[in-house]
Symmetry: C2
Subunit: 104 residues, 2 copies
DNA sequence: GTTGGTAGTCATGTTTTTTTGACTAATTGA
DNA sequence: TCAATTAGTCAAAAAAACATGACTACCAAC
């Protein structure tokens, strides 16, 4: 058999994939805002000073792909899109909480 | 008074600093190896295929500065240097464990 | 029909992170 | 004294992440 053709990360450190899903310049803050309720693209742009469309769009897409956020088209006027924490996302609160003990 | 001159990260998301201390291409794996006992510079280079001196040196320095690892000169022959998990580093195991529930 | 809000994409440029390869310097064993 | 092992540093290049500005497309109000 072949020895190991998984990306070395996953093989040697299970936490590494999760770490990647959560890190980046805007993801932690988006996560945090999503804890307070559904977030929206333009809303995030306003709530995250210094951010930009491209970066927010990328973060949202990656967090959706990682099944942290769920994207929903809301059939109300004005028609818009909401991003909500998935069950997995919600469960990840424990990860964030475990980090809050280390405020230097 | 001034409103808020902290780096926005720390202000808006406490976990963000810790996330930064743990993320990077090699830090999680170094952390994991350090769980099994003291690690050494050349040893890490051998144990982390694809790594390089510069990156390992930087990771070790940053993890030392973040008080995750403690650097010790071991007065044995051959005289060498060991990096051991600090108390804080050891406590951070809980952070890694909290992530291990999310293996996709 | 023009303005303004929704949610983006695309190409490009800048900045940060990571890698490469050469080099240093002390210690040890033959 | 020569070679190997220890643990790095340094400058430069490559790769990845992030930012900028222009543009698209849909819908609603005026």
């Amino acid at each position: 058999m072949t020895t190991n053709n998984l990306p070395q990360e996953e093989a040697s450190c299970p936490a590494e994939g999760i770490l990647k899903q959560l890190s980046g310049k805007w993801k932690p803050q988006i996560f945090r805002l999503a804890l307070d309720g559904p977030v929206r693209f333009n809303g995030l742009l306003r709530q995250l000073p210094g951010s930009n469309k491209q970066s927010v769009a990328t973060a949202l897409k990656e967090m959706e792909e990682a099944d942290i956020l769920v994207k929903t088209v809301v059939q109300e006027k004005p028609l818009h899109i909401e991003y909500t924490l998935s069950e997995k996302g919600l469960a990840m609160v424990s990860v964030f909480r475990s980090m809050e003990g280390f405020l230097s």
